[in-house]
């Protein structure tokens, strides 16, 4: 569904991604793991259109979307939940959600909203409160909910575990993996926290200094002790 071919991205002289190729199939979670500074966020931001690649291509349903604007890419069906709490504290919970997918029909948005509230009941309870009143885990749910409101075929999650308690992380990730299975969503999950990510993912990809050093079934990567020592630090 989402295919990346030979992608390279630089910030000035810093080469953040070098010739990265990978595929994100529908209906399951693909995890990209790697240490801090490996280039994971750069990969996600480039897919979403926030950074322009130096070379390489991004294909979505066989359509070349390389270098597209974020607001166009999200309309095609790729939604990014960026790193950090990507909610807007000045808006209410429901306004944060309604921000996603404004171009869609009223009916589509209504359906999505109902679905988000059923996935994350706490958001429904707090719909009229300011987003700044939410806890960290609730905000992450809100951020994912906002992305789901755009009706995506591919969901990009950049370190959703950041700063959250392990139990909440597990809950959220299981939910996402369930969603992928149920609705054929393609999920690209980026994590520094490799163990958790590999538990829910089908495929694992290890990124180091902007290059893919290993990819394969998540189970195998989780077992590979050498890899863990060399790149994941545990």
């Amino acid at each position: 569904m989402l295919r990346i071919e030979g992608l390279s991205v630089s910030y000035g002289a810093v080469e953040a991604l070098k010739d990265v190729s990978l595929e994100v199939p529908p209906g399951r979670v693909t995890a990209v793991i790697g240490a801090n500074g490996a280039g994971k966020s750069t990969l996600m931001r480039t897919l979403a259109g926030l950074e322009k690649p130096k070379s390489g291509r991004v294909l979505f349903n066989e359509e070349d979307i390389t270098g597209g604007k974020p607001e166009d890419i999200v309309r095609k069906g790729i939604a990014l939940v960026p790193e950090g709490r990507s909610t807007i504290p000045d808006l209410t919970v429901e306004e944060n959600l309604k921000l996603g997918g404004m171009w869609r029909t009223h009916a589509q948005r209504g359906t999505s909203l109902t679905r988000v509230y059923s996935l994350f009941p706490v958001l429904g309870e707090r719909r009229h409160l300011g987003a700044d009143t939410l806890s960290g885990g609730e905000r992450q749910q809100l951020a994912i909910g906002r992305a789901l409101m755009t009706g995506p075929q591919a969901l990009l999650l950049d370190e959703p575990s950041l700063g959250l308690a392990p139990l909440i992380v597990t809950q959220i990730l299981e939910l996402v993996s369930q969603m992928a299975k149920d609705s054929g969503l393609a999920v690209l999950l980026v994590e520094q926290n490799a163990a958790t990510a590999l538990r829910v993912a089908k495929t694992g990809i290890v990124l180091n200094l902007g290059q893919i050093v290993k990819s394969g079934p998540a189970h195998d990567i989780a077992q590979d002790e050498e890899l863990r020592h060399a790149y994941l630090g545990y």
């Binding site: 979403a48 926030l50 974020p70 607001e71 999200v74 309309r75 960026p82 807007i88 921000l99």
Partner: protein, 292 residues
């Protein structure tokens, strides 16, 4: 005591107009992080347009509508021709550019309409109401100003809080990246912010003209008042701009009443300095963005 009430009443309509002008500054600031010092020049220019329309047709209302349209167009033009190209450079460049626009607009107005002050008579009676055997410093025209401002502010608040476009504009102001990732065409929202600001400023200009005179530079002082109000309100806050716009107008009216109207700019300056010294982030702002 009756003086106090008189002075306050006398400040209501100018406070309401300052609120509009401050609102225009805030709208632009929220959309592009630029204080549009040319805003008052745009308002002055569209008020001259209104004067011309009024002289041609005799209709104040038509003049107001045309001025609003002109303000909208002018706001969009300034945004496209000046701010968008310059914004990527430095902030001081953007500030200087808005002053360049101000200078050019004031000169252009003087070239087209002449530099001498023109009378812009109120469309209705501007003598105070008589009630309880005395004349109050609040006239039918003051009432018209107040009603116009209230209608405009209410309309804006409905747009901002109840519509998708308003939500998109607010989101674009608070976090453009998240807005774009949500599918909002943020650039269009910026243009819209400039357009609405231009419109609001145009209304302020037409309303204020009968209270002062109309000359290319006669509104300059309102820029200082409006900037003061907007900054005290937090520069980000629409509510703050309105509240402190009216507040600034009232304080100025009181001080002018008890001393002399030539003190008004000094009062505004003092308010601004006090605010910047003691509450630099503004009263309604969410951000602590002002320090070096």
């Amino acid at each position: 005591m009756i003086d106090f009430i008189d002075y306050l009443l006398g400040g209501v309509s100018s406070g309401a107009i300052i609120a509009l002008m401050a609102l225009a500054l805030v709208l632009v600031w929220r959309s592009t992080r630029v204080v549009n010092f040319a805003q008052i020049g745009q308002a002055m220019f569209t008020t001259y347009v209104a004067l011309t329309i009024r002289e041609l047709t005799g209709s104040w209302f038509l003049a107001l509508i045309v001025a609003m349209a002109a303000g909208l167009v002018l706001g969009v033009l300034v945004h496209f021709l000046v701010i968008r190209p310059v914004k990527r450079l430095d902030t001081s460049g953007a500030i200087i550019a808005t002053f360049g626009v101000l200078i050019a607009l004031e000169a252009l107005a003087a070239m087209v309409w002449g530099g001498d002050p023109e009378a812009f008579p109120p469309p209705i009676e501007n003598a105070g109401y008589e009630l309880f055997g005395r004349i109050w410093p609040f006239s039918p025209y003051d009432l018209l100003v107040l009603v116009s401002v209230v209608i405009l502010v209410l309309a804006l608040s409905v747009v901002f809080t109840r519509t998708n476009v308003g939500l998109a504009m607010r989101a674009s102001a608070f976090n453009p990246e998240v807005a774009r990732l949500s599918g909002v065409r943020v650039n269009r929202m910026l243009v819209l912010g400039w357009a609405i600001a231009g419109l609001v400023g145009a209304v302020a200009g037409v309303l204020v003209a009968p209270l002062s005179t109309l000359s290319p530079t006669s509104f300059d002082i309102f820029l200082v008042f409006a900037f003061t109000a907007a900054v005290i309100g937090g520069l980000d806050s629409l509510v703050g701009a309105v509240a402190f716009g009216i507040g600034t107008g009232l304080v100025i009216a009181l001080v002018s009443g008890y001393s002399d109207s030539s003190n008004a700019p000094l009062v505004a300056l003092a308010l601004l300095i006090l605010n910047l010294l003691f509450k630099p982030e503004g009263v309604f702002s969410h951000h602590k963005a002002r320090a070096v």
